[in-house]
């Protein structure tokens, strides 16, 4: 028969060792902010941009190979602009799904707001791949691509960091690419007003989308 208090002590020691091991080793644990955006003083959820920024003055190509001048062809309608890539495992699909779903929830159409996705990964993102990717969210989303210099020029005009290779994708799908994580909102005149960082939830978009349609 084991000594009287051996088992509880052994369990405690084991638990303590496990805690230490879990705390010291490279775990999968990172902090996750899951509570969405806080309301701004004016009621919007998107964060206002204080600087003067316009839709970038660059020409890219749509998925059908037609040239699109971002700074001219998207005037007349508010635009939500996002830089990403189709292999992105988290930020891009979460943002795009949230926008598409929120638009559907509040009855805002793609005639009222342009949602533009610009690829920062020209090597992998072919027009067909971009079209197929965006179909997962909504077929009316606009997919644009261009060479890396043109995309970089667009990012520079918005003072956003350029794409960087961050290392191997843990899913084994090539490299992960670092890119701006925010959606930028431009009014019908092409002037930037607000950004929505990663962490924006549908509940945030349903507040802001009708205001974009009404006020921009």
């Amino acid at each position: 028969m084991p000594p009287r208090h051996l088992l509880p002590r052994a369990s405690l020691l084991l638990a303590a060792a496990a805690l230490v091991l879990a705390a010291c080793s490279p775990t999968t644990s990172t902090s996750l902010q899951a509570t969405g955006l806080s309301p701004q003083p004016d009621g919007w959820r998107g964060i206002p941009i204080e600087l003067d920024r316009q839709l970038p003055d660059v020409t890219l190509q749509d998925v059908e190979g037609q040239p699109v001048h971002l700074g001219e062809d998207h005037l007349g309608t508010p635009t939500l602009l996002f830089f990403g890539y189709t292999n992105c495992p988290d930020i891009c699909p979460i943002h795009l799904a949230a926008i598409a779903s929120a638009m559907s929830s509040v009855g805002v159409t793609f005639d009222e707001i342009d949602v533009v996705f610009v690829s920062v990964d020209p090597d992998r993102d072919t027009p067909e791949r971009i079209a197929e990717y965006l179909d997962n969210f909504h077929p009316r989303m606009t997919g644009l691509h261009g060479d890396l210099d043109t995309v970089q020029a667009a990012l520079d005009q918005l003072e956003l960091p350029g794409p960087v290779v961050e290392g191997a994708d843990p899913r084994g799908e090539g490299d992960l690419i670092g890119h701006p994580a925010q959606v930028i909102g431009f009014d019908a005149d092409g002037e930037a007003h607000r950004v929505w960082p990663f962490g924006t939830r549908r509940s945030d978009w349903v507040v802001d989308l009708p205001r974009i349609v009404d006020e921009w």
Binding site: L7, S11, L14, L19, L21, L32, P89, D90
Partner: protein, 292 residues
Amino acid sequence: MNVAWWCSGTGQVWTWRYTPFLGVWVVAATLIGGYVWSHRRAGQPLDRRRFRRWVLGVLALVVVSEWPIGQIGVGYLATVGIARYVVYTFVAAPLLLAGLPTWLVQRWLPEGSRRQRAVAAVTYWPIALLIFNAVLFGTHLPVTIDTLKTTQLGSFGVDVLHLGAALIWWWPAMRPAHERNAIQEPIRAFYLFASSVLMFVPAAFLTFSPLPLYGLYELAPPLWLGFDPVADQQAAGIVMNVGGGFVLWGIIAVLFLRWAKEREAEDRAARRARDARTLARIAELEGEAERP
């Protein structure tokens, strides 16, 4: 190899790379080791049937807490998260209670001890019903999920609360009739039915909310392209309805039928005894009548 203490919402991209959760194995080893050790210490033989139930209960906890189900349920899919709750509450907890022999309960909770009085207080059925539903509602609030389940300690705490509340809730319904606080039909049927009805409330919120309630699942890297957190949430509501509602109704029906059968058997035995007494009395009277 990555290791962690307990599953939590990490916000990291899902991969099929095994991440052991050491806390799960520590808890499982403590539960099974403690059970065997208690028997040895008391000089009691292991009742195979009870031990099997206890081990199955622990196994249920391990399956839904370890990688991958634990990780997917806490960090990626609300459906699996609710399924974990259903297994903790409706599978693991009753199996663990069914594996506890009365002598062990009496040994752990000596009559008149502070521990026994505390357990008696929380397992009194109206209190147990209140605790169970307070934990059910409290731990499914978006603010609770989004803040506690993003840390290992918080997630562990929520799981401990779920198991603890389930054990308290099942206690009066499952312990033998002669034990303190044990309830029988029709109170037991009402007790279980009331919980099943209350469970429809959070389930309805999950099923009918047009927006994702939990940022944890909405902002987690999607497991597949085109993943819809609202559809996942609706499925989670259905799992809670089926697990907490319909399965519980099945359990209520089984317990009620068993109770009715026992009552019928008792009635039959009482009738037989009465008939036997009547026949004996008749025979006695006939004997007296025949006597000169």
